[in-house]
């Protein structure tokens, strides 16, 4: 099996530039998954997820990556199960053999069915990386791309994924080929993610907390300040305490402010912004506030 293939023989992927490549590259990804028996759903509005894909697979792992499992497994006769994957597609053209892309904190969810498709269009390579495997890779290799100020600012470009002249891929000199093309497909179709969804969700959060609760000061803050922040993060790993809902807690804080007069108007303003944020989540507007 050759994967991926170019489903659009009249045009080469790299003929599009970064301003007009979104549609063609997402369809390129979609057509490749359709050929492997996945049912592919595209967003009605632009949301954080570029495609949802579904497939029936044998719970005992017998379904080949290039087929849909239909109702019953051809190998063991077991009733198949539907698996769902939530894909974020990032397409880049290599520059100096580097695949550079940006990750924001809103891209990190605890659902292990969330996968990143890193598509290098100039080499026609797919990296298919589940969130749990991605975080596990960072922890295992003592890499933390999420501790920097620029990550929390949303503009942290990751330039660590590199291809050597032999065509092998590395992240900070650590082998990254296990996520490449056919290897990644097997990880994508791993039914154990769905069978052990709760356990793997908890594991994803555990890894996220390890990586997110670290502060690197960079050029923005002093080293001493960084040490104080890290002490605070260690002292209070569970940041919030609950007596009421979180939005109600903020409202209470506004009410408690003794020097502010027009509190009701401010509370309405805050609620209006929250409502705007909630609506922006699915309306296709990117971080309007």
């Amino acid at each position: 099996m050759k994967f991926p293939i170019n489903p659009f023989p009249d045009v080469k992927p790299e003929e599009f530039n970064k301003l007009n490549k979104k549609r063609v590259t997402e369809d390129f990804v979609a057509e490749n998954f359709i050929k492997l028996g996945w049912r592919v759903y595209e967003p009605f509005n632009d949301t954080g997820i570029d495609r949802i894909i579904m497939k029936n697979v044998c719970p005992n792992g017998h379904t080949p990556t290039e087929e849909d499992g239909k109702d019953l497994c051809k190998t063991c006769g077991t009733k198949t199960m539907r698996i769902e994957r939530y894909l974020q597609v990032k397409t880049r053209t290599l520059k100096d053999n580097i695949f550079g892309f940006t990750l924001k904190s809103k891209d990190l969810r605890t659902d292990p069915r969330h996968f990143f498709i890193l598509y290098s269009d100039s080499t026609m390579d797919f990296f298919i990386v589940g969130i749990l495997d991605f975080l596990s890779f960072f922890i295992k290799n003592k890499i933390n791309p999420f501790s920097s100020t620029s990550f929390r600012k949303g503009n942290n470009k990751l330039n660590s994924l590199k291809r050597n002249t032999a065509g092998d891929w590395f992240w900070n000199n650590k082998d990254f080929n296990s996520f490449l093309n056919e290897n990644g497909l097997k990880l994508l179709q791993n039914e154990q993610i769905d069978i052990n969804l709760n356990k793997k969700t908890e594991q994803t959060r555990e890894y996220l907390n390890i990586l997110l609760n670290v502060f690197t000061c960079g050029n923005s803050y002093t080293k001493e300040f960084g040490e104080i922040i890290n002490k605070e993060l260690i002292a209070k790993p569970n940041k919030i305490s609950f007596t009421r809902g979180r939005m109600e807690t903020v409202i209470d804080k506004i009410k408690e402010n003794n020097v502010t007069n027009n509190k009701e108007a401010l509370i309405e303003s805050t609620k209006k912004y929250w409502e705007g944020v909630k609506q922006s989540e699915n309306s296709g507007e990117e971080e309007v506030f």
Binding site: R39, Y41, P43, F44, N45, R51, I52, R82, E84, Y86, K104, S105, L108, R109, T110, D111, R113, H114, T149, F151, R152, K153, G154, T201, E202, R205, L212, F215, S220, T222, F225, I228, E232, K239, I240, F242, G245, R246, M247, T249, V250, K253, I254, N257, V259, T260, A265, L266, S269, T270, Y273, W274, V277, K278, Q279, S280, E281, N282, E287, F289
Partner: protein
């Protein structure tokens, strides 16, 4: 996408759902990210303080007198102390490290915790309702029918998905829905075997009830 699906798609979006479709299937996929523990919606565009987890109040805080003002106000002067001072997009939790005098300066110089330049906020990490840190996607695939078309499904519905009938009644549109495994697509369907929702909000709530 036909207009029946498009209409329901917009209704889904206004009910905080993401909508997906496949041109070759007569169906709609609706999805949301929710708290694993309590099912409350999860909003990745909502930010919270990196240090204490308090939600962004979208307010300015005056560092001179502590007064809160709307972020829509363009005035550089504090409305309370009248001083031209630095209003910051700060954390509203007075116990937060970012509000301690000895530490606040460096963050305030970047505009405060919720100013993008400071790098001191994160996308939502805790459930708004119960405080859990776990989130999962919940997704439903739905097929829409009009009983006036004869009541038979007419297409093969794969198992584990939902069938929705939209019925115009005197009081407005009602919705009848059921999991496809409960229905026999070859027979005429009886609406009284299905659950009823009096409006589209109740329909989506019903579809996402339980597992």
């Amino acid at each position: 996408m036909n207009i029946s699906y498009k209409s329901l798609a917009f209704a889904a979006i206004s009910n905080y759902l993401s909508v997906y479709f496949n041109d070759e299937e007569d169906s709609l996929v609706v999805s949301k990210l929710v708290c694993t523990e309590c099912g409350e919606n999860w909003y990745t565009n909502l930010n919270e303080c990196f240090l204490c987890g308090t939600l962004n109040p979208f307010l300015h805080i005056c560092r001179e007198c502590g007064v809160l003002t709307s972020i829509t106000s363009s005035s550089k002067h504090c409305s309370n102390c009248k001083k031209e001072t630095r209003k910051v997009l700060g954390c509203i939790n007075s116990e937060c490290l970012s509000n301690k005098k000895e530490y606040s300066g460096q963050i305030d110089n970047k505009g405060g915790v919720f100013d993008k330049e400071s790098g001191f906020s994160l996308s939502q990490q805790y459930c708004l309702k119960c405080g859990s840190q776990l989130n999962n996607y919940k997704t439903r695939k739905i097929y829409i029918f009009d009983p006036e078309d004869g009541g038979a499904l007419g297409v093969e519905i794969d198992k584990g998905n939902y069938v929705v009938f939209r019925k115009k009644e005197k009081a407005g549109i009602s919705y009848y829905y059921a999991l496809s495994t409960c229905l026999d697509g070859t027979e005429n369907l009886s609406l009284n075997k299905m659950k009823k929702a009096d409006n589209v909000k109740d329909l989506f709530n019903g579809l996402f009830d339980g597992e």
